[in-house]
């Protein structure tokens, strides 16, 4: 029996690094400290046994060797005029580096799961920057915490205990008792049930409400109507007072803000609110990133290509124009003629028309798990699980990078090796 301490969790953007893992005969038998979501992933389920291929999307999969699957994947990608390499968020940075190299080689578009998640936040960062801080700064200092369009009780279960609501630190020794917790959402979530103040707004009115808060903050309460987005003006004034009088305000936002009406403009507005609050107190804002290493892909892609995501290599040089070069843009325009989906599940999370197009074109899937993307794939290459069977780098939602442990020996090839082999094969097919 081996006990691994201070192990990292390969599930959500909290990237908890205090897990204890018990291993017996190369099998994980117990996971301690993790939340249910993390423990379930680490304990393992629904693995794809072996590489698979099928003649067409209506045929049954047949198990093949890695070599056959990799060669077919390379054939599909090198024959493509407009390949898309999508996913990446559930893999370590070492995989991202190989992926970008393959995208360069193919002249492909490379995009990650942020495109249906926090990519609007990135657009807002282009406009306004991002006044943020590491999560420990929140833990030690924040006396006001806001969750806006995010529900950590279910999506980031240990966030509140480790970093925010309940965490105790040098200037927050009372933990929960010393904090005001505010939840802004369209419905009374389980997180809202724990809040000191719940601000319920109408679906799609986030932008209006942020604007109203900014108006009140800047001394123009007179222009704010009696009710904004279903929220009474009094409640908004009270909220501004709470924010202004906090010693350290930490705002966390989720897909309720990024994927509702007005999308990136919501974040743009919220960042302006945060910047303006800094004239009164300290205030920072942090996106609640989903996958454990979606932040890592954005970082690797930025330092290698200069752009955080949705990079098109068709011209040989990186080109970035979300709205034109993001995964769903090229799928909805039916431009993509072959796709590789890796460490992300387009089949489950993309709009129906995008998935319909994926069902028409050759698709290579690289993933440890059987998921809806498998249903539209032609070639399926199972891989080792990053952070469980393979070590490597991941970036927490606040940009702190940590090294994931290897807990057990892999039963499948790692992503990096599969990508290297595909790249070699592509070069060979192209006579390089």
């Amino acid at each position: 029996m081996t006990v691994i301490t201070d192990a990292l969790c390969p599930f959500c953007g909290c990237l908890c690094d205090d897990l204890t893992i018990v291993v017996e005969d190369n099998k994980i038998t117990d996971v301690k400290q993790a939340c249910k979501l993390g423990a379930s992933k680490i304990m393992g389920h629904h693995r794809i046994k072996a590489p698979m291929m099928r003649k067409d999307k209506n045929s049954e999969f047949k198990e093949v060797s890695y070599e056959e699957a990799i060669n077919e994947a390379a054939n599909i990608l090198s024959n493509s005029k407009r390949p898309l390499l999508y996913g990446w968020a559930s893999a370590v940075c070492e995989v991202h580096k190989k992926g970008i190299l393959l995208a360069e080689e193919l002249g492909a578009i490379i995009d990650n799961t942020a495109t249906v998640c926090h990519a609007p936040s990135t657009l807002a960062v282009h406009e306004k920057g991002l006044p943020s801080a590491t999560l420990g700064q929140i833990k030690n200092r924040a006396d006001v915490i806001v969750f806006w369009g995010s529900n950590p009780v279910h999506a980031h279960p240990r966030h509140m205990g480790r970093y925010s609501v309940f965490a105790k630190g040098l200037f927050s020794e009372k933990g929960r008792k010393g904090r005001k917790v505010i939840v802004v959402d369209v419905r009374k979530t389980d997180t809202a049930n724990m809040a000191d103040q719940f601000v319920q707004l109408e679906q799609g009115s986030d932008y209006l409400v942020v604007s109203a808060l900014r108006a009140i903050l800047s001394g123009h309460a007179d222009v704010v109507p009696e009710s904004v987005g279903g929220v009474p003006k009094d409640a908004l004034s009270k909220l501004v007072d709470t924010l202004k009088t906090g010693k350290f305000v930490g705002i966390f936002f989720g897909m309720g803000l990024t994927q509702s009406k007005s999308r990136y403009k919501n974040i743009d507005n919220a960042i302006s609110l945060v910047t303006e609050l800094n004239a009164f107190t300290k205030c920072v804002i942090t996106p609640m990133r989903g996958h454990y290493n979606v932040t890592g892909f954005g970082n690797v892609c930025a330092w290698e290509t200069g752009f955080a995501t949705a990079v098109d290599f068709a011209r040989g040089a990186p080109y970035y124009n979300p709205g034109e070069t993001a995964a769903n843009d090229v799928l909805l325009r039916k431009e993509t003629d072959a796709a590789m989906i890796i460490a992300g599940d387009a089949g489950a999370h993309f709009p129906a028309d995008s998935v319909r197009h994926l069902a028409r074109i050759p698709v290579v899937q690289i993933d440890p798990y059987w998921n809806p993307t498998t249903e539209v794939a032609n070639v399926v290459i199972p891989v080792a699980i990053c952070g469980v069977e393979v070590e490597g780098t991941a970036y927490r939602m606040d940009g702190v990078s940590l090294r994931m442990r290897k807990m057990v020996e892999p039963t499948h090839l790692p992503d990096t090796e599969v990508l290297e082999k595909i790249t070699e094969r592509v070069k060979l097919l192209r006579g390089e």
């Binding site: 920057g129 006044p131 910047t275 920072v284 200069g306 011209r315 970035y320 940009g399």
Partner: protein, 570 residues
């Protein structure tokens, strides 16, 4: 592998060679006495030969550089080049991608560059980027000026623990030296406040910036680190701050150097040589700062020269970045790091016709020209704060030609006449002085003059050849040729390998990452670690076991040994 560079007009000032016709012999990556007749010959044909350039302060890798990229796609779009058979695609101007960092430095004849600031907690990110920067040797300075353990040990006056913390922090971050940014201010920015003088007390920690700077200098010398404390002064970017700068430099008198170098390096002095009381009566005080350096041998500085046009300011000085963003209505990224420091990123655009920017531009050049000894004033643009490093050739041309300066002065705001002394300065630097400010001096300030910044036997075979014949050019008149030559080396040789020819990349070997392993007595480390363990148990948001940068992130390490206990005892 042997290489012979013949007929060069060699400028190697630390070895007393100033334009002599000489041959350089290279074997196995090092400069040697002579090589066999089998050596590959490069005929320099009387052209200018110098050691590879060394940069002691440039923001090339890590969290804030990448935040700059992410928030500035408009910058990434300038300077895009597709991949070639040999090179990866390059992007960006003020915040280039990792490949552009390496290629562009090499194309300028630079072979060694130090990232100016990394928080320990984010050092893993810095090294991920450093590992992908091709060709050049590199390293990173580690922030210690607002760390809770630093302030605790300073307050306790426990120098043994402080030295042990620096030793451990350098190991944890694989850092090369001690960087101090707005000491105490990083902690105060945690609650949106700042320090305003050397004697402000940091709340909850009961220490002053003065005490932090002096204690860190003492600990730095106890450890005999190759580099001295590298200070970004308090009050950066505020009119009247030259007084704080002079007072900070005076602190060096309290500490004796452990090596043949300064006790204190004060960086990007352009931003810290400001007179006046507000932006209305703002003026240059570069003369006062240069005068101090001229009369003291224990302090060095670098210019932080401004380049007109686009810049991306990035610094651990969080409060100054908030102030910049507010003043300019610019986009603002903030990046506080728990228990360690602050940081901020703000894009700016320096315009010739704005009086403040014209004065700052002149201030940088004044610093370069009024400081008599070039070993005391290194050439930097504090990339990309003053401007991108690709403009070093512009700075060199300005320093070498009064004619060029006078031409430029005509195009900038007239305040440059009344608020600076630049128009009246006639000094023109020569090739030796430029070689010192970009090679020998930089290497000496970093404590690397044994292998870097010169061409003597035993030095690393890092050589640059520029398309100038020093005996046939008048830099004062032909400044355009000077600028052109220094922007694109005829040859850059890195570790004995030709990496650039006629300005084009010819090879992309991976350079090494320098870090300092400074040993202290074990009981000091043990005592210090008791405090660190508590910090992790109670305050950090990650586990101690996951904090230190692992070996996996240094695939080409170069360890420099130092420490409070003699090397042979280990």
């Amino acid at each position: 592998m042997e290489l012979l560079i013949k007929n060069g007009s060699v400028y190697d000032p630390s070895n007393g060679i100033n334009g002599d016709k000489a041959d350089i012999s290279i074997k196995d990556g090092k400069i040697v006495d002579k090589v066999s007749s089998k050596a590959t010959v490069i005929d320099a044909g009387g052209r200018l030969v110098m050691a590879g350039g060394v940069d002691a302060h440039s923001h090339i890798a890590g969290a804030k550089v990448n935040v700059g990229r992410i928030m500035r796609p408009e910058d990434t779009r300038s300077g895009i080049k597709p991949r070639t058979k040999l090179t990866r695609p390059t992007t960006g101007y003020t915040v280039p991608n990792v490949y552009a960092m390496g290629y562009r430095y090499a194309q300028m004849g630079y072979t060694t560059v130090f990232e100016a600031a990394q928080a320990i907690m984010k050092a893993r990110h810095t090294h991920e980027e450093l590992e992908e920067i091709p060709i050049i040797d590199k390293g990173a300075l580690t922030l210690f000026g607002s760390n809770w353990p630093t302030m605790d040990f300073v307050r306790e006056k426990n120098m043994d623990k402080l030295a042990a913390y620096i030793s451990w922090g350098l190991l944890a971050s694989r850092g090369f030296g001690v960087k101090v940014v707005n000491p105490g201010g990083g902690e105060m920015w945690g609650f949106g406040k700042n320090v305003t003088s050397l004697d402000d007390v940091v709340p909850n920690f009961d220490v002053t910036p003065r005490e932090i700077i002096v204690s860190l200098m003492k600990a730095n010398e106890m450890l005999g680190l190759p580099h001295s404390v590298h200070l970004h002064c308090n009050n950066l970017g505020k009119p009247g701050n030259y007084k704080t700068t002079l007072a900070s430099m005076e602190l060096a008198d309290q500490v004796k150097a452990s090596r043949d170098r300064q006790v204190l390096h004060v960086t990007h002095l352009l931003f810290n040589s400001m007179g006046g009381t507000n932006w209305g009566d703002f003026e240059s005080k570069a003369d006062e700062v240069a005068n101090y350096l001229n009369n003291h041998d224990n302090v060095t500085g670098d210019m932080g020269q401004m380049i007109f046009g686009s810049a991306t300011t990035m610094t651990a000085d969080g409060p100054v970045q908030y102030a910049n963003a507010k003043l300019m209505h610019a986009k603002w990224a903030n990046g506080d790091v728990e228990l360690e420091d602050a940081s901020g990123v703000v894009p700016l655009y320096y315009i010739k016709q704005v009086s403040v920017y014209a004065i700052m531009w002149a201030t940088g050049l004044e610093l370069g020209l009024l400081t008599k000894d070039p070993y005391k004033m290194l050439l930097t643009t504090d990339h990309p704060n003053g401007g991108p490093f690709v403009n070093y050739s512009e700075v060199i041309a300005l320093l070498m030609s009064n004619k060029k300066r006078q031409e430029e002065i005509k195009t900038v705001h007239e305040a440059v006449h009344s608020k600076t002394r630049l128009p009246g300065i006639e000094r023109e630097l020569d090739f030796s002085e430029i070689a010192i400010m970009t090679r020998a001096g930089t290497a000496k300030v970093l404590g690397l003059l044994d292998t870097k910044g010169h061409l003597g036997v035993g030095a690393d075979a890092d050589v640059s050849i520029y398309d100038i014949k020093p005996d046939q050019i008048d830099p004062s008149v032909e400044h355009a040729k000077i600028k052109s030559a220094f922007s694109s080396a005829a040859y850059t040789i890195k570790g004995g390998q030709v990496v650039v020819k006629d300005g084009q990349i010819t090879a992309t070997p991976m350079g090494r990452t320098y870090w300092v392993d400074a040993r202290v007595p074990e009981q000091h480390t043990n005592e210090m670690m008791k405090d660190i363990v508590k910090k992790f148990k109670n305050y950090y948001s990650i586990q101690l076991a996951n904090y230190m940068v692992q070996d996996a992130y240094l695939t080409h390490p170069k360890v420099v040994k130092a420490g409070a206990i003699p090397v042979e005892v280990r």
